[in-house]
């Protein structure tokens, strides 16, 4: 069953998002074929990206829009997160995070992208994917979670 939800308020999006996952965890909506572990991994990955948007995205004069779409596809569940911010230089941020964790004294923060890449499959960031009628842009992050993969990370904290 595809699930697509829009969020407009950056101050409540995290709680609303987790409320949605709690419904799935309670079995009110199916995210087959994910088991409980991988459902938690999906939640963790979605949280990391939306947290990144809340903290760092520049939405300019636009009313923020974050759209999360999750769809089972065979043995995987595909996730797409679109937003109308000005986007990120994803590769630049990724290189910064990789360099930071390899430092002698790694910082406490700045591992979100590395964690997301490690615990998902086919993670890609597209910018911009569409121009809206109001002239705003849409950026999109996509990734999948496999039902039979038990990911683990080796990222130093």
């Amino acid at each position: 069953m595809p699930q697509s939800v829009q969020f407009r308020d950056l101050s409540t999006v995290i709680d609303e998002l987790h409320g949605l996952f709690e419904r799935w965890e309670r079995g009110e909506a199916s995210l087959l074929p994910l088991d409980d572990f991988n459902l938690q991994v999906m939640k963790f990955a979605v949280h990391e990206w939306v947290a990144n948007l809340v903290q760092h995205a520049d939405f300019g004069a636009h009313l923020p829009l974050i759209q999360v779409a999750i769809q089972p596809n065979g043995e995987r569940v595909h996730c797409m997160i679109e937003d109308n911010s000005r986007g990120f230089d994803f590769n630049h941020q990724l290189v910064k995070q990789q360099q930071a964790v390899e430092a002698v004294l790694p910082p406490d923060r700045g591992r979100g992208l590395l964690i997301m890449i490690a615990c998902t499959e086919d993670l890609r960031y597209y910018q911009p994917v569409a121009v809206t009628q109001a002239g705003g842009q849409r950026h999109r992050l996509e990734f999948s979670i496999s039902a039979h993969r038990k990911p683990w990370l080796d990222i130093p904290f």
Partner: protein, 125 residues
């Protein structure tokens, strides 16, 4: 999303994490722990019984606390770990660093017994 801390003994505090430890309250967590460290607390039991969210920022704050306490002979342990937190712990292999206990009481007892053992050794030496 308030974090509450209670002293369990002279050098040990129990931190009730509550619903979440993430980018929204990681700074509060660090400041609250910092204040207790200045008061002489060296061991922290993190009670995750009601926690639905632990993200990379929250985990970073815990590691920061760990790095500060280890040279002081202190420790950070996890208690009553909820399922969402357990998955993050497994995913990040954090279980290699932080011991886990089924309850806050069990965690505190272990810390007390460790303190007693270390105290006895110090006395014998």
């Amino acid at each position: 999303m308030s974090i509450t801390i209670q002293n369990a003994s002279a050098d040990t505090a129990v931190v009730c994490i509550g619903k979440a430890l993430d980018f929204r309250n990681a700074k509060d967590f660090k400041e609250a722990c910092q204040s207790r460290i200045q008061d002489g607390i060296r061991n922290f039991v993190l009670d995750f019984s009601g926690t639905g969210i632990l993200d990379s920022t929250g985990l970073g704050a815990i590691f920061s606390l760990y790095r500060q306490l280890t040279p002081l002979g202190g420790q950070v342990v996890f208690a009553a770990v909820s399922r969402p937190v357990q998955v993050v712990v497994q995913l990040t292999r954090t279980y290699k660093v932080f011991r886990q206990y089924p309850t806050v009481t069990a965690a505190h007892e272990q810390i007390l017994s460790r303190s007693t053992t270390n105290g006895s050794r110090a006395g014998a030496a």
